[in-house]
Symmetry: C4
Subunit: 181 residues, 4 copies
């Protein structure tokens, strides 16, 4: 799990992890019951990633910015203590600039993970644009880093691990998990 060398300098500055939901934290499947109720499939290792950010001792911010809307996403955001949640968002660039200001940050301190055209404006508003392995070509070209993981298979966790390593927080996080021995 080496930190991509060219990215290390940028990763060192990251204070806000902002991201799309469907296709990034999920594999893009929109699972719908006959009642219209939606089901989301998250990955346990991504969830632990949000926990690791908090345990790192550094003060990171998190934001989810999605064009869709569901109670499942709202519940998960509360559960994982996501700092800002934008649902039914029609302009992800504006949303990301807003949340960047809200947290008192500058774009260089912000990364955004997205997987589709609707994420292009957010990529431009972020200091570092990242997409999953299975994103379309047009999105990959707009991003500086394509993760090894595909959507829903630990994309966020791969990014979180890399940032924690680049910022020298890895031993502390590992220690947090090992200390209970």
């Amino acid at each position: 799990m080496a930190v991509p060398p060219k990215l290390a300098a940028r990763l060192k500055k990251v204070r806000l992890f902002a991201m799309d939901v469907d296709g990034v934290l999920t594999d893009g499947s929109i699972i719908v019951l006959e009642s219209g109720e939606e089901v989301k499939a998250w990955h346990v290792r991504d969830r632990i990633g949000f926990f690791m950010l908090r345990e790192s001792g550094a003060h990171f911010h998190t934001a989810w910015i999605t064009g869709r809307k569901s109670n499942a996403v709202k519940g998960a955001a509360e559960n994982l203590r996501i700092g800002a949640l934008y649902q039914k968002c029609e302009d992800k660039g504006a949303a990301l600039r807003e949340v960047t200001r809200k947290f008192g940050l500058i774009p260089e301190e912000v990364l955004f993970i997205g997987d589709d055209l609707v994420d292009l404006p957010a990529f431009k508003a972020a200091g570092l644009a990242i997409c999953p392995a299975d994103a379309p070509d047009v999105v990959r070209k707009a991003c500086r880093w394509t993760t090894k993981a595909a959507g829903g298979k630990g994309v966020f966790r791969e990014v979180a691990d890399a940032v924690l390593q680049a910022q020298g927080l890895w031993p502390r996080v590992i220690g947090r998990f090992e200390k209970s021995v």
Copy 2:
């Protein structure tokens, strides 16, 4: 995401995107609760594809023609503003000819995406027959284009992107997503 060269001439004429549902817009899984209720798993990038068609500025038609029936499909069709929905369809060829006439089109302006034997009559009624990467051999032989994506993994989106590019509408669509910057 290059447009397949041999197809470009045909793609330029397309006005109607007609398709099967299970195995094309889904991976073929029929997910059933004990109550008999059915669950469908769509892909977020296909859904955005229907949105892109509308945003392209051209006047495209859409139709779903399926041999099965569920409220989940009805709800999704309304949600995505699909122009014509045929459920429990026993003759997909007749249905496609009907909807072609209804929209005032000729077969050369119609593409159909299907994945199985029940789709053969519709392939014959369409100007362009397309199937997913995981369709059976007998279906692939009946089709002019086998997409790179497997069923449920963005088959429709791959087709939509190619048509938009062939018709010179790509910059406009991309611009629609970028302009909010």
Copy 3:
């Protein structure tokens, strides 16, 4: 979709398609809600395979023999007009011999598709033992044919297509789907 040559002679005799459910008609996932309710994920092309058997003009029998029990399986068996359903079956060998007699057949006319140790007795009671691509080694060794498809990805359909071809019924089945043109 070539018929495996060594199997052709045996496939010609098949009158009963008997099979396990989980791991054969599904990918082995046992999906459970908090209420204890179970969800099953079938494949649309397997379902069409049962339809094709009926449309072939030949008189085939079908049986599902499973060690588990759920309403979802019962509903699907009715829906697909499965001739015999054994749930919570503790001796699949005895069940298969019973259903073979019930339909007035001999073992040479029976194939059984299974994926695990609990299916070994049924393999011995069948004239032809078949397992999915992802079955454990000990099961594959007990079977004459390992399908190219993994569980839940069209295993039964692969078998049905091969039997229909071996028995010269393929043109009729294809014709059934094409004639509506």
Copy 4:
């Protein structure tokens, strides 16, 4: 299905199969309905593995130790007669030491299967640390055995089969399934 040679000596001593749930017995997907209800997807061959342990004639213990909590896991543990269940566990190392004592065992008789950082303390408390094929590098380095199966695809079964073989119980288990012929 050969027993990994270097592990055979250790596998011979195993009396307790302890493991994490999400990412080991499942593929790591956390599937959530809008109501907040959770869905778990187990694998049928893992379930049969728990049955095989009981049928082996040896007296094995089982324990599930998870940081999450759901009725689905509670129900499955009862159904599969798991000897000890720890949910919402914050210190898996302490839990594993507790259950080891409870069953009157020593660490050499205990294996633990986990997939993430939260499992590190349990790996240290176990005589044999095992992880799925898709575990992160940091976890794989902490484990003596990485199974061929990925999470949710039969990891536990692969381990159970190897222990049964190493302890010479395989013929008895196979015989149990064949005897009904």
